[in-house]
């Protein structure tokens, strides 16, 4: 385990809708350069946690209490303007449905360029250069920048979203079920890409998924959530190889495996 400070640190988190508390997390940390998997089924609260980290929980009517520290600074204390700098540039997020996470009336390239201009590019020309370079890095042709989101396949759109995170030189990537809507062969491509983000760009990744198999392929450490609480966390090999909590055991055994002989 790295001795450095964790890049993201959650403490005493509580997310509620009015009187109903939906998520309670005592402690959760994302180490620098680590890929952390958050596993859970629907209703586990993992998506709400991601929203809270981005400061977007209010948009769905939830209230957040506790401390979410990004590089030591509590995100919940930041002003809107400071939060906007963090969100989107230093923390990027990719979603389950990549095509619809882009505004359908803009070309993908326009969104890219605008994001770069907002966060440091000095001219449109420079932004376009960086956008093209970004796409090439994820093995996409820069021609795709001219397309509208609905003209991209799911896999292509997801790669564009990842390219954006790369181009903005985000430090943290929040990925909420980024491959659930994709074909399994395309998923393999995306997972390979996410792994390279960490290996080559040093990005820390918080990977949320209901698919424990996907998480096991990618993640160094795993957090298992159920009904809004963390039931188990630890290094992947420990959580998967020797699960302690009943629920974790149930999840592990429920994952269908190919090629298992009669038992």
């Amino acid at each position: 385990m790295s001795a450095r400070e964790p890049i993201l640190s959650i403490a005493d988190l509580s997310i509620a809708f009015g009187p109903r508390i939906v998520v309670t997390i005592d402690a959760l940390e994302l180490g620098s350069g680590e890929i952390l998997g958050v596993a859970g089924e629907s209703g586990s609260g993992k998506s709400m946690t991601a929203l809270a980290i981005l400061g977007l929980a209010g948009t769905v009517g939830a209230t957040v209490r506790g401390r979410i520290a990004f590089e030591g600074r509590d995100l919940l204390e930041l002003s809107d303007r400071e939060l906007r700098d963090v969100r989107g540039r230093r923390m990027a997020m990719i979603f389950q449905n990549p095509v619809s996470s882009f505004n359908p009336v803009f070309r993908v390239g326009d969104v890219f360029v605008r994001a770069l201009l907002l966060h440091g590019a000095r001219s449109k020309a420079e932004a376009r250069e960086r956008a093209a370079a970004g796409l090439r890095r994820v093995l996409l042709s820069p021609d795709l920048l001219e397309r509208y989101p609905h003209q991209l396949s799911g896999g292509q759109a997801q790669r564009v979203a990842i390219a954006l995170a790369l181009a903005l030189r985000s430090e943290v990537l929040l990925a909420d079920e980024p491959t659930s809507a994709l074909d399994v062969t395309v998923q393999a491509e995306i997972l390979q890409l996410v792994r390279s983000l960490r290996d080559e760009a040093g990005m820390s990744v918080l990977f949320i998924s209901h698919d424990l198999a996907v998480i096991s392929e990618l993640c160094d450490r795993i957090v298992v959530m159920r009904s809004g609480v963390v039931v188990e966390q630890g290094p992947a090999s420990a959580v998967l190889g020797a699960p302690e909590h009943e629920y974790t055991k149930a999840l592990v055994t429920a994952v269908p495996k190919v090629g298992v002989a009669d038992d």
Binding site: F17, S42, S47, M48, V60
Partner: protein, 294 residues
């Protein structure tokens, strides 16, 4: 996912109604008002102070009296008690609106859901027919009617209804087309359920919500349209106590004898508000799991 975070709705309609009222108490107000109007209409002869004034009557010595203890809403240009006429008016204007909307729904809805569900040629044909009727302004049609038949409340009703139904067809067709693509409709087709049943059991209930809201908003629109026609002499004729007619007739006296316009106008306003609020409430009640607006 994120949708799970929202509360799920109740189950039985009564519980839903209670929930809707608690969420937006104005719905109870709307409902009460609507009920009031219906009660007034039914009990008109009992409530009116001068029931004789409602229709044919003239009191040349009592014209244009201000509101008093004798005539609560004053008297009009023929000396008739405005209050009684407004009360009896509850039998006229809302009835016209009701009939217009019922006819518009009975014609427009089946055409709309059929167009949306079947699509293709049927959709094209139906929508072209709809477009033809959409092209007619109510006024022109009413004029044509008046030219052929005697102007009356009944003919006005027909004329307005004929220009109203296409909007509903249009509105519900879009919804129906969207519902027709849903998996439960496909499942019904795969089961071999006959088209007629699919249309009325599955398509209709799932498409009708925007229409219900629209209908409730249209109540006031119809009343105003009818009054415009009355103003032109094409609709309800004097002495019928049509609110719109009263407003039209009272216009020229407005600056001095304000009560001629104000009370019938307020009656129109109250009716409109009542049904708007009711429409909102109905939408909440009818949708088993509507996400609450915050």
């Amino acid at each position: 996912m994120i949708e799970d975070a929202f509360a799920r709705g109740g189950t039985r309609p009564l519980a839903q109604a209670g929930l809707a009222i608690r969420r937006n108490p104005l719905i109870a107000v709307g409902g009460a008002l609507a009920l009031l109007i219906v009660v007034v209409a039914i009990l008109a002869p009992a409530i009116a102070t001068h029931p004789g004034d409602a229709y044919t009557a003239a009191h040349p010595t009592q014209t244009l009296l201000a509101p008093s203890s004798e005539h609560w809403f004053g008297t009009d240009q023929l000396g008739r008690d405005v209050y009684s006429r407004v009360v009896y008016g509850a039998r006229v204007s809302p009835l016209i609106a009701f009939l217009v909307l019922v006819i518009a729904c009975l014609v427009g809805i089946p055409l709309g859901i059929a167009a949306g569900y079947f699509g293709g040629v049927i959709d094209d044909v139906l929508m072209r027919i709809t477009d033809v009727f959409l092209a007619f302004p109510a006024l022109l049609l009413a004029l044509a009617f008046a030219a052929v038949l005697k102007p009356s409340a009944g003919n006005t009703t027909l004329a307005i209804a004929l220009t109203w139904w296409p909007w509903y067809t249009r509105l519900i067709r879009g919804q129906a087309a969207s519902v027709a693509g849903r998996q439960y409709v496909e499942a019904a087709k795969a089961l071999g359920v006959p088209h007629r049943r699919i249309l009325f059991k599955h398509i209709l209930p799932n498409s009708i919500t925007p229409l219900i809201v629209q209908v409730s908003l249209d109540v006031s629109a119809v009343i105003l349209t009818a009054s415009a026609l009355s103003f032109l002499g094409l609709g309800a004729q004097d002495p019928t106590p049509d609110w719109g007619l009263m407003v039209s007739q009272g216009q020229s006296y407005f600056t001095t004898q304000w009560w001629l316009v104000t009370f019938p106008g307020a009656a129109i306003l109250l009716t409109a508000v009542a049904f708007n609020l009711l429409g909102d409430g109905l939408r909440d009640v009818l949708d088993p799991r509507r996400v609450p607006n915050r």
